[in-house]
């Protein structure tokens, strides 16, 4: 069992590494330079997929939190917290790469427009989620219940972040994908972008697998310590 898991882990890691290398080749050699922004636009191929993974991770947290409240099974709680921590990492990447892209293009690092502010609020919500989990004791159902509630309510901000550039006038550009008439990407850019999206999704799945395993071991340790305390 352990041997099979090790083989699968190694193969997944290799596959992700290879896909990332191809992704970089597509980004820097295959996709053409954008006419007005030049090289700096290459950040787009990491910035947007990171945002997609963050949204996906928070959606999984939302679903798993509902599952936990409905069934009280630890597995849902573990999946929710694992996904939330990955989502927070990718949300951090979005919040850092965005200003790095903005500085040479907009001339400013940050502005309090609807997209940027709602993304920052989203990040704070999930940092709070992780803090709640780290401060509350693992035994009992209090930690799972409270974090599930935050996981569900926190997700309500995700559609707001997504729609913010459609609902309000923002410094952040209008959507390039599914943005209606006049939007869209050059075909080679589109291929590089969707490949990047797929690779980041694969990366999320691989990291989630690792985090779930870690969380499972944490749970077993907690259980044994609890047994020891009682005996």
């Amino acid at each position: 069992m352990d041997r099979n898991r090790a083989i699968i882990d190694s193969l997944l890691l290799l596959l992700t590494g290879a896909a990332m290398a191809v992704n970089l080749w597509l980004i820097f050699y295959f996709a053409p330079l954008e006419r007005t922004m030049g090289l700096i636009q290459k950040i787009f191929y990491f910035h947007v997929p990171s945002a997609w993974v963050a949204f996906l991770a928070f959606f999984i947290t939302f679903l798993m939190s509902i599952g936990y409240l409905a069934s009280r099974r630890d597995w849902f709680d573990r999946a929710a917290s694992s996904s939330a921590s990955i989502g927070t990492v990718f949300c951090t990447i979005v919040l850092v790469t965005g200003p790095i892209w903005a500085r040479p293009v907009w001339g400013i690092w940050w502005t309090w427009d609807a997209r940027l502010t709602s993304t920052l609020v989203l990040w704070f919500i999930y940092v709070a989620y992780l803090l709640i989990r780290s401060y509350l004791p693992a035994s009992g159902t209090k930690r799972g219940t409270l974090s599930a509630v935050v996981g569900i309510i926190g997700f309500l901000n995700v559609p707001l972040v997504y729609m913010s550039i459609r609902w309000w006038r923002t410094q952040h550009p209008q959507p390039v994908i599914a943005g209606g008439e006049g939007s869209g990407l050059e075909p080679r850019m589109k291929l590089a972008f969707f490949f990047s999206l797929a690779v980041f999704t694969l990366l999320y799945a691989v990291i989630l697998r690792y985090r779930m395993r870690q969380s499972f071991i944490d749970g077993r340790v907690e259980k044994l310590l609890e047994e020891r305390r009682r005996s």
Binding site: D9, L14, F28, E34
Partner: protein, 92 residues
């Protein structure tokens, strides 16, 4: 056997990918002969610095996160193994 071979080569594969992250923006900006190949959008040198910063942050953050997970997992596995041994159970 396969797992150990693949497992041993995986970190090197990731190191190679990291090197690509550094080389590719440089070649994309300046070309193989060092001449600027960047068209509009500001000076290539200035923008290259921003691209480097962004890509290194992405890879650095992901790498550190994976290392943190790996170390945490190993620590917990060792702790679990000790607990199960002291309990007299089978660690497997």
């Amino acid at each position: 056997m396969i797992a150990s071979v693949v497992g041993r080569s995986a970190p090197w594969f990731l190191v190679a990918a990291l090197i690509l992250v550094v080389i590719m923006p440089m070649e994309c900006a300046f070309g193989a002969d060092g001449a600027s190949s960047v068209r509009p959008g500001g000076g290539p040198a200035g923008n290259t610095g921003y691209v480097f910063a962004a890509f290194l942050f992405v890879w650095g953050a992901l790498w550190l996160y994976l290392v943190a997970i790996h170390r945490g997992q190993r620590r917990m596995e060792e702790r679990l193994s000790r607990l199960e041994k002291s309990r007299g159970g089978d660690p497997s």
